[in-house]
Amino acid sequence: MSLRPRFLSGMATMALAMTLLPGTAFAAPSSSTVNGTAQAVVVRSLAILAVDTLSFGDLTRPTAAGTVVMDPSGTITTTGGVLTSTAIAQTGARGPGTFAVNGDPGRLFTVDLPTVAILRQGSRNMRLSAFRSNWTSGTAFSASGTFTLSVGATLNVLSNQTVGTYTGTYAVTVTYQ
């Protein structure tokens, strides 16, 4: 019985020594250095700049309400009262609104258009609705980091809309995806 504890303590000492040995070997160099990695990607800030005015040109006052639809491509179609009193393209140029958008080459982005905007002439107004653009889902910046955004909308003209020039603004926001 008296031998047994001594034997056990001897085993324990051996086990302890074996455990310590690899530890001591690992700690043998006084220092060790490896290189970690770090990375950062700096992306060009998004910028949008208004270029051309969204212009519906001149329209003859209709006797019944109607619409003029400007496609982002510049194509015009008319409905309702404006159909018969055809829109006149004379002095003022007609065309979609355009914006110069700059961003990170190849990076996807989204475009937010307003649902409605108001054109005013004094207390009179006309409503712009159904904004649309040449941006489609999956559109990315070109290799040069540019995109020309064209914006169209539907102009709602009331019957016997008061003559004159109506103007207004609309906000367009671009965001990285």
């Binding site: 800030s45 700049l49 005015t53 001149d58 003859t60 006052r61 609104g97 906000a171």
Partner: protein, 165 residues
Amino acid sequence: MKKIILASVIALVSTTPAFAASGNTSTANGSATATIVSPIVLTHTPGASLGFGTFTTGTGGSVTVSSAGAGSVGGDVAFVPGSSNSADAFTVTGDASRSFSIATSGGTVSAGATNISFTTSASAAGDTLSGAGTASFTVGGTLTLAGTEAAGAYTGSYTATVTYN
């Protein structure tokens, strides 16, 4: 521990707007414009008429009235003494200083079952409305006669159209 977690959440939330403002999004205001103009209205001057006058046909020919109202004959046609000619007249109202084009058709004058054809020519192919939004023009024409038409008073009509350019 609770305090630490709370602090880190606040830091995360406040980072988001800062990131957005740094160029992840951009907004611009575009301008839009549309102009409504007065409709163009054409009115026939009351009492005015394209008058080819009174004439004998002979073996046929033509009567021409200039847009200034001067008459002349061609072929075997001859005006009778006392005949007079006149050009037709129209007034236009619409958007001030806006240009428009004029189109006039030919037509026929009739008496009973007999028709005589004529062509028309306006004093101008187009014009520009004055600062007050008015304009006017006249119309002449040429009546062609076969020489077989029965004597009588012939009347008819034609159309005139003005369109904004």
